[in-house]
Symmetry: C2
Amino acid sequence: MTLGAGAAAEPVALERWGSFHVGGREVVISGQPVREMAFNPGSVPVRIDPNGTYLMGSMYAQYMIPANPRGQAPLLMWHGGGLTGVTWETTPDGREGWQHFFLRRGWPVYVSDAVERGRSGWSMIPEQTGGQHVLLTQDNPWERFRIGDGAGSFARGTTNPGVQFPTDPESYRNFVRQVVPRFTTTDALTLDAYLALLDRVGPSVVMVHSQSGQFGWRAAQERPDKVRALVLVEPAATGDPAKVAALRDIPMLVVYGDYIATDARWPTIRANGLRFAEAVRAAGGTVDVVDLPERGIRGNSHMVMMDRNGDQVAAMIQDWLTAKGLWR
Amino acid sequence: MTLGAGAAAEPVALERWGSFHVGGREVVISGQPVREMAFNPGSVPVRIDPNGTYLMGSMYAQYMIPANPRGQAPLLMWHGGGLTGVTWETTPDGREGWQHFFLRRGWPVYVSDAVERGRSGWSMIPEQTGGQHVLLTQDNPWERFRIGDGAGSFARGTTNPGVQFPTDPESYRNFVRQVVPRFTTTDALTLDAYLALLDRVGPSVVMVHSQSGQFGWRAAQERPDKVRALVLVEPAATGDPAKVAALRDIPMLVVYGDYIATDARWPTIRANGLRFAEAVRAAGGTVDVVDLPERGIRGNSHMVMMDRNGDQVAAMIQDWLTAKGLWR
């Protein structure tokens, strides 16, 4: 398996591939009115009784296992808020994404959709989700993910200088198409599902992004024996400060992109992450923190894996995993 | 590439794979109240202004292209109501699904999630979706998809005699985990997205199931030059009766499973399908209709591709496609 520039053009042999759901629980709903509704315009109404038992909170995962694995553990890729596993697939401008990068290097790759999103399904059962969700307008990620230079930049059509995110209108539109509603009250359900995934797949390298930063830290705190290493790409929140000792034996890498100093929110988010990393170190753990600009890798938005130089960052992560003995 | 019983164990070489979204449109929302909400319990509330421009109605598709293709066109797999593309993947009892079956035989396979479902995202913008959705209780598919023997069978724990769907509790639960909310007012959006998919991928074999029966017929009526063949597995509705002539040059195969005569709804649904097929024939078209029990293939539920004898049905479809010159 060549790792050079020509690698992307070569076929990849899969030993097996497929998908499954994990986790979730039964929820009984009663006392709701029966509705009459038409499944198709003009058709005879159907009687829909919403009362009964639902399964909710399960999570979808898709795996691709290479024929000649070199990764020493499965690689689980967990996406961020308002998004799905599509984050890791083909980039919005049609290049191969990090799912390709790591699979091509022999990692067994598992891409999941967090609960209440994507192929995990969702439920408007208020007892469980709070019933409230957020769907992003198209200007929101442009301004909040450090693609544009702050508030009003989408309307102005301006970007952070030298940003590597593909900002042509069609590519950006493709990214917005990936956005899905986000419920704000499903963190516990989501963490449970990630634990169920670790229990099913077994000891794994876990790579997280943004919102799933907290799920990566917390899942590792609950299942330290199931996490061989933790790679956190711009984690938006931390783990449980009371359980940092549980992370002592897990190699961890935190990666931050560019334009943080001039952003409204990221200096605080990054400071929280650094403080948590320091607490893990104080408990005897090892956390490597990489600020990409300090390594000479510039122009990265919050969506590092979609940036035009994303493979440079992936290669840095790959080197780190190799140095930890997790790839041969 | 061996087609025998050992085929499932062999690695498959992919030339390329990936995903994209197609279709959708901008929707401007105004006049809605600004909300304050917490993204995480206990955190500082965030100001969410729901007014602005959204993209909605786009559709996710994932493709896997074998290194040595033998299918003479891409194979698009369109799922049914309340479900996603997961329909075609690993079966609920962990066997390889039809996506595997056809990819292993050299078809370039595209699996999509219909709009407002799965990785296509969804929107509660009432102007577009009608705002109302249906999520199935766990007994519903058991009784409606001809797994159980009619109303009350889930509570009784009874099945149609000899049903091939994997009815052990864990497998059935895995199937229910695949269920997602279904909006009842998004047919036009969905058809538009399938047309966008055909326009992007080009002339294809289209395989549909259940709800997507109508989308298969209607997409072929709108883009007869883009549909090389149409395989309809238990279509739940028909195409446009006024446009049957548009289907004249497209080979079509309709497949029905078992237990239809004793079902409450399927005799009517099947009769509608047969009447539409007859109208297509009267306009000069060819529609082959297969009742599986008449071919000696018994025990099929509505979820034919998940049934334990699903590969037998897939092989029959494969033979039909080969006979039409679409596989070499």
